[in-house]
Amino acid sequence: MTTTANRTKPAARASGAPAGVEPVLTGVQTITFAKALTLAMADAMEADTSVLVFGEDVGTLGGVFRVTDGLTRRFGPERCFDTPLAEAGIVGMATGMAMNGMRPVVEMQFDAFAYPAFEQITSHVAKMGNRTRGLVRLPMVIRIPYAGGIGGVEHHCDSSEAYYVHTPGLTVLTPSTVTDAYVMLRDAIASPDPVVFLEPKKLYFTKDTVDLDELRSRYDADASVSSSIGTSVVAREGTDATLIAYGPSVSIALAAAETAATEGRSLQVIDVRSLVPFDDEGVCAAVRSTGRAVVIAEAPGFASMAAEIVARIQERCFHSLAAPVLRVTGFDIPYPAPRLEKYYLPGVDRILDAVDNLQWEN
């Protein structure tokens, strides 16, 4: 489907927009994952003037991945702007702004470049609500492009989710579809709590066709809508075993399930998407329904989100399990150089090998 049909539709909200501002997209559109994120920010900024976007190169350039493209042109340099090059500065300033009535959405340029902000994130952002007994909540979003699969050089491909999910007080989300990119980022911005929003880099330029009006109507309605936060989704139905994945690994899990189907094995795929809070109920129900599970994640496996999922499942579903819960994760090594990443990344074969190892004979 092309977008031509909708191009002519008058974009009501864009009337009177300053020169150079693109008309607001409406209706059914084929858009990239990146564009869905842009739209989520734009719509949130439109709806609430306290929403601000800032970070390195997010203004004039529109971000190195163009995720903030057009926001400065549309909302002006006071609402979407570049900062000096200092990540603790960005997160620390955002913290102060959130203390004082704003809803900042900040971008860390790449996963490993959020590390300078670690103290601000861990000791302040995560703790503020708790230490003030809820008197100061920090409605802020820290967007982090993460993970690999793009042939990036070192420090540009870390799967850093474990650091955040282990830190109480942070909500940690990671969408894997174009729709979720929009919905979950809006939910993140709407959340009264700080959200670390992890964007799988390799998905930025994937596309899907979505009905924007329908997506928006969730947020335009005054009734409080149920948030995606804390919920997992069944990305594919299946009965023999459950693949549990999130972010960049969901598409690999789906591909594995597709291949398995041709071999006569029915694999269910769960997209965790909300790492914290974790959907124990949904994930456990899925695993109980099949009795076998493989957890898939790109990050090194040791003391990771995948380890947590394994631990939880075996604690909660022990007697439903026909086999140990296995993991297919990144190795416990630094992310490899571009020409070696293919050996590192969980792939279809490795997942199917793990499925084969789920002790089908026993």
Partner: protein
């Protein structure tokens, strides 16, 4: 709007355009340790515009110093009696905190550190609320938004960035809020200090950074922390004015900090002030300052005491009436009594609170963990042998 108007007149004639961002050649002092005004020997090179505050202002300040001293004394006593876990004393440094409070309006924001209890009470925070964290019941006891006073920051220099954010938000909304952030000499070495000053300068936001240079970061003396001529010299590297001031001279502090706050409020942007003072007691009650500094050094600072100095000045000027003195003392004693009585009362923090505030709504996991703890506590209370 220029970057740095009036604040910078009459600096030493340095012959360079940017020299006006450098601090005065000597720390600004308006009342000498002896309680005398403007000692001839030290005025050279000062910025002319620092005028002595009015007598009323100085009297108010003196009252606040009396209060501050009493708070420090009382808190130390409570620690000795085991009623409080820890207290980072600011005995000897009270003038900086008092000046910070007095130069801010109610709608301005203060960002204190762990050592700034006097400043926090000076903002109007209920004494027992302010002491709740020191007593160990919770991480904090007061509402930062109600008092426009952040919780005292422990991770050093981190709060400076929050001050920039608060000021930036206010500026974007067109409010004329000023944020004043306190930090120590040691904290100036942290990366966050640098990032905060730079962000404040680039976004031209109304923040006053006030370093209480008390010569030590726990045991580490300033010369092992920094070898610049002064900490105020860092300002020029951010394109903002820096100033240094006698941190035990409340009059000078009020004048210098007041000018910076006014300038910030008028759209002049941020400024950096270094106040020279001294921590007369150990870092906290857990510290033993005799391990790293001599009794002579400590003694040499006693005559520079901010409270005695202002007392002497006001007394010599015939401005401190017996009535005033008594009122200040009894006001201070009243707060001390609140602390004594309050910290005598047994409190029992609620374990269920552990799970209540981590998120706006506890997650399913926290609900589960909260229930687990509640069950544990219930069964611990249940009579032996009976399990629910």
């Amino acid at each position: 709007m220029t970057n740095h108007p009036e604040f910078i007149e009459n600096t030493a004639n340095d012959g360079r355009a940017e020299g006006n961002l450098l601090p005065s050649v000597q720390p600004v002092q308006l009342i000498a340790p002896e309680g005398t005004k403007h000692p001839e020997s030290a005025t050279a090179g000062w910025k002319e515009r620092y005028a002595l505050p009015s007598v009323d202002t100085l009297l108010e300040g003196y009252g606040r110093l009396v209060m501050g001293r009493r708070i420090n004394d009382q808190a130390n006593a409570l620690v000795r009696q085991g009623r409080m876990a820890v207290y980072p004393s600011s005995f000897g440094q009270e003038a900086c905190q008092v000046a910070a409070d007095m130069c801010l309006d109610q709608d301005d924001w203060l960002f204190p550190t762990y050592r700034d209890t006097v400043a926090i009470l000076g903002r109007g925070v209920d004494p027992l609320e302010a002491f709740e964290s020191l007593r160990g019941d919770w991480h904090s006891g007061f509402d930062p938004k109600e008092y426009k006073t952040a919780l005292p920051a422990t991770p050093l220099a981190t709060q400076l960035l929050h001050a920039v954010g608060v000021a930036h938000a206010a500026k974007l909304r067109g409010e004329d809020t000023v944020a004043l952030a306190l930090c120590g000499d040691g904290a100036s070495s942290e990366g966050d200090f640098h990032e905060a000053l730079n962000f404040a300068a680039v976004f031209h936001v109304p923040v006053v950074f006030l370093i209480q240079n008390n010569q030590y970061a726990i045991s580490v003396p300033l010369r092992q922390q920094n070898v610049a001529q002064s900490l105020a010299h860092k300002a020029i590297g951010y394109g903002m004015p820096g100033e240094r001031v006698d941190g035990n001279d409340l009059a000078a502090l009020l004048s210098v900090v007041g000018a910076a706050v006014k300038r910030a409020r008028d759209g002049g942007g941020p400024a950096l002030i270094e106040a020279h003072t001294y921590r007369m007691e150990s870092h906290t009650n857990a510290d033993d300052a005799t391990r790293y500094r001599s009794a002579e050094e400590v003694a040499s600072w006693a005559p520079k005491d901010p409270l005695l100095r202002l007392q002497k000045y006001l007394h010599d000027a015939g401005e401190l009436s017996a009535d005033d003195a008594e009122r200040f003392a009894s006001d201070a004693e009243a707060v001390a009594k609140i602390l004594r009585d309050g910290l005598k009362t047994e409190t029992s923090p609620d374990p269920a609170d552990l799970f209540r505030y981590v998120y706006s709504e506890p997650t399913p996991q926290l609900h589960e963990q909260s229930r687990m703890l509640a069950d544990e506590l219930a069964s611990a209370l249940a009579p032996e042998g009976v399990s629910s």
